[in-house]
């Protein structure tokens, strides 16, 4: 399943790249992009575990840039 989320307060381009890399490593994530320009996260992940995966996504993003919030 492919879904898009808005990222609020994504202030640093390097962090966006770091987040993208960290999200891609999560188990069950097919592909992910964090666009600094559009301030959006596009994620493709297993549908059955999507909620669970998103929880992990939020956690890794918090780790990289605590100020940034993913709008669900």
């Amino acid at each position: 399943m492919k879904k898009k989320f808005k990222m609020v307060d994504l202030d640093c381009a390097n962090c966006a790249a770091k987040m993208e890399e960290a999200i891609k490593k999560i188990d069950g994530v097919g592909d992910a992009t964090v666009s600094f320009m559009t301030q959006k996260l596009t994620i493709e992940a297993e549908e059955s575990r999507f909620e669970e995966i998103m929880k992990e996504v939020v956690a890794v993003c918090k780790k990289v840039e605590p100020d940034c919030v993913i709008q669900m």
């Binding site: 898009k4 307060d9 202030d11 640093c12 381009a13 390097n14 790249a17 992009t33 666009s35 600094f36 320009m37 559009t38 301030q39 959006k40 596009t42 918090k62 780790k63 990289v64 605590p66």
Partner: protein
């Protein structure tokens, strides 16, 4: 400016007000007091805390999350190092300029983001629907196919549909870049995203919102940033290694020379701090994607959708371009191009031909009827008989009329004058008397010739045309347009083979683009290095398969896009070279003690700001 940016601005101003007098007094050595209390240190700590508290806070927080090489942390180490060697003034200045640079950077990025989203501001907010005789505004999402919506003057068209009453001029510039408004009336198809000019339109909706043109375009543009160019991927990789390498170099620089040559640690720690300030690859990480984003934005303002920055990269290297003929270089519709009457008037020739073909569904009949323009008096035709492979035999006004090819004339034994014009020729005879011939052909688009010329001026070395048409027709069109190479009599499947052969031929010598209207073209569009589709005439499948979509089917836009692509790539490369050169230079000078903190701050935020400003130029590319 956002609230966050404003707060930052006030903090910068406040810190500067405190810092400047201290800086001046320090220079005049007025801060050297003979006391036990470190007055100078304490005084400088006031502006340092005002400007830098959040950086220290974030550095601590991020370290606890395991983010070691984070820029906040590096800034802290660099400034702490400067404080450690008693360069108080420098440490405040570094913090201050770092924050100024960050603010400017964030402002520049949000500005360019804004200008791109303004340009893409084509999303309709509501649709008017009539309910119990009153107009109600509803979400375009809630409208179903077949619903009737009302579009008032000046409103954005929310959904694709057909006009059922009213007439107006609509402004399609947001989608196609075309500034001349398009006239619409009853029966016209209209597409969402355009703005209704002066009249009130009632429209029957033909597509649901998520399938409508506007929703599709927005989706394409939003996804564009996920397809990254090679340069972008290189920068991401580079950034991953750059910071750790510079930080390690800084650590070595602080420790090894003092141990080896016995110089004081303070001198080398100061130099190591310079390294830390330059260790963020931000200038590159921001300016490269921003440049591509701007280039895609500039193309979309011209009515060209580019589905990813990688396609801009390929576009800038395009050397060979292959066109599909029908629908791309020609209009793809048959029209009467010439009349050769023999003993009758032109009007009469056309009238009889149109009547004879009146009941036929063949494209030729359509062209004749369209050329005749007036309503046909079909009661004058009493009998029509189609002779396969030859034409039509009909009874018009009681007389037998033959309309068809040369074979038909020969079969009926009628004398006729052979016509060698390019296109489909219809010969017409009444009883045994030859009336003349009519040439029906596909017309070349008016802009096609110019499009080819401009492509050649922009570095395309080979132009090729593929067509399923006969040799004579294809070659005539190619000659008229100045196309180098033409392949005719192709079946749809042959086009893929031809493109593959051409790809093999140009391998390593530049890229190959294919332009088609999408009817049977989807496999070829995918196969080519870059597939360019016609947006308004093309099928949905083609738009999906293509990498670049020309919203108004104007082939001259291809060369414009090439120019935008080349300018974008050039700016991106300038930024990479400039940023790396300055950073490396300052690193080297810093290592040998010829650069100080000020140069380091410039190499970090100064370079970022310059690179961002340069990247923003792509937005204005033409």
């Amino acid at each position: 400016m956002t609230k966050k940016q404003k707060t930052m601005l006030y903090r910068i101003i406040l810190a500067a007000i405190v810092y400047i007098p201290l800086f001046v007094m320090d220079h005049k050595e007025m801060l050297e007091f003979d006391t036990q209390v470190p007055v100078r240190f304490l005084l400088f700590m006031i502006p340092y805390v005002i400007i830098g508290w959040d950086i220290i806070y974030r550095a601590i927080r991020n370290i606890s999350h395991g983010q070691v090489f984070d820029e906040n942390f590096l800034m802290c180490i660099a400034t702490f190092g400067a404080i450690g060697v008693k360069q108080y003034s420098e440490s405040v200045a570094v913090m201050l300029f770092y924050q100024v640079g960050e603010l400017f950077q964030s402002y520049a990025v949000s500005r360019s983001r804004q200008s791109i989203s303004d340009m893409m501001d084509i999303c309709p907010e509501y649709a008017n629907i009539e309910q119990d005789g009153q107009l109600v505004q509803v979400d375009p999402d809630e409208i179903n196919i077949g619903d009737i919506i009302v579009i008032k003057a000046g409103e954005r068209i929310p959904l694709d549909g057909v006009v059922i009453s009213g007439s107006s001029f609509i402004d399609t510039s947001a989608l196609t870049g075309e500034s001349v408004p398009r006239e619409v009336g009853e029966g016209s198809d209209i597409i969402s995203g355009c703005v209704n000019g002066s009249g009130l339109l009632k429209v029957r909706v033909t597509k649901e919102f998520e399938d409508s043109t506007v929703a599709k375009i927005l989706e394409l543009v939003e996804n564009a940033s996920s397809k990254k160019a090679k340069v972008e991927n290189f920068i991401t990789k580079f950034a991953k290694y750059y910071t750790p390498i510079v930080v390690c170099a800084a650590a070595l620089l602080a420790v090894i020379p003092p141990l080896l040559i016995g110089e004081p640690f303070s001198k080398w720690v100061a130099r190591a701090c310079i390294f830390l300030v330059i260790s963020c690859p931000c200038a590159l990480v921001i300016s490269v994607p921003l440049g591509f984003f701007g280039g895609i934005g500039a193309a979309s303002r011209q009515g060209v959708l580019v589905k990813g920055s990688n396609y801009l990269e390929v576009m800038s290297e395009m050397k060979t371009i292959v066109f599909d003929k029908t629908g791309t270089l020609t209009k793809g519709e048959f029209t009467v191009s010439k009349l050769y009457p023999n003993g009758v008037g032109e009007k009469e020739l056309l009238e009889i031909a149109a009547l004879a073909e009146g009941y036929s569904a063949h494209p030729v009949a359509g062209a004749l009827k369209a050329a005749y323009k007036k309503e046909l008096e079909m009661e004058r035709v009493t009998d029509t008989q189609e002779i396969p492979g030859h034409g039509i035999k009909a009874t018009v006004d009681g007389a037998t009329v033959y309309a068809g090819n040369a074979k038909l004339m020969e079969k009926e034994g009628i004398w006729f004058e052979e016509n060698h014009d390019i296109g489909t020729v219809v010969y017409l005879a009444k009883e045994d008397l030859y009336l003349g011939s009519i040439v029906i052909s596909d017309t070349v688009k008016p802009e096609a010739k110019n499009a080819i010329k401009e492509l050649k001026e922009n570095g395309v070395t080979k132009t090729v045309m593929l067509t399923g048409d006969r040799k004579a027709v294809g070659e005539a069109v190619a000659k008229e347009l100045g196309i180098d190479q033409v392949y005719t009599d192709l079946l749809p499947g042959d086009k893929v083979d031809k493109v593959e052969a051409l790809l093999e031929e140009v391998k390593g010598k530049g890229r190959l683009g294919f332009v088609g209207d999408g009817i049977n073209d989807a496999p070829v569009l995918t196969r080519a290095d870059i597939g360019i589709a016609m947006g308004s005439m093309g099928s949905d499948a083609a738009i999906e398969a293509a990498d670049i979509v020309l919203m108004d089917d104007d082939t001259t836009k291809i060369s414009h896009t090439m120019r935008i692509a080349r300018m974008t790539l050039q700016i991106v490369k300038q930024n990479i070279v400039f940023a790396l050169a300055v950073k490396v230079l300052v690193l080297l000078l810093g290592a040998i003690g010829m650069a100080n903190m000020w140069e380091a701050v410039f190499a970090d935020v100064g370079v970022s700001v310059i690179a961002i400003l340069n990247a923003m130029r792509t937005l204005r590319a033409k």
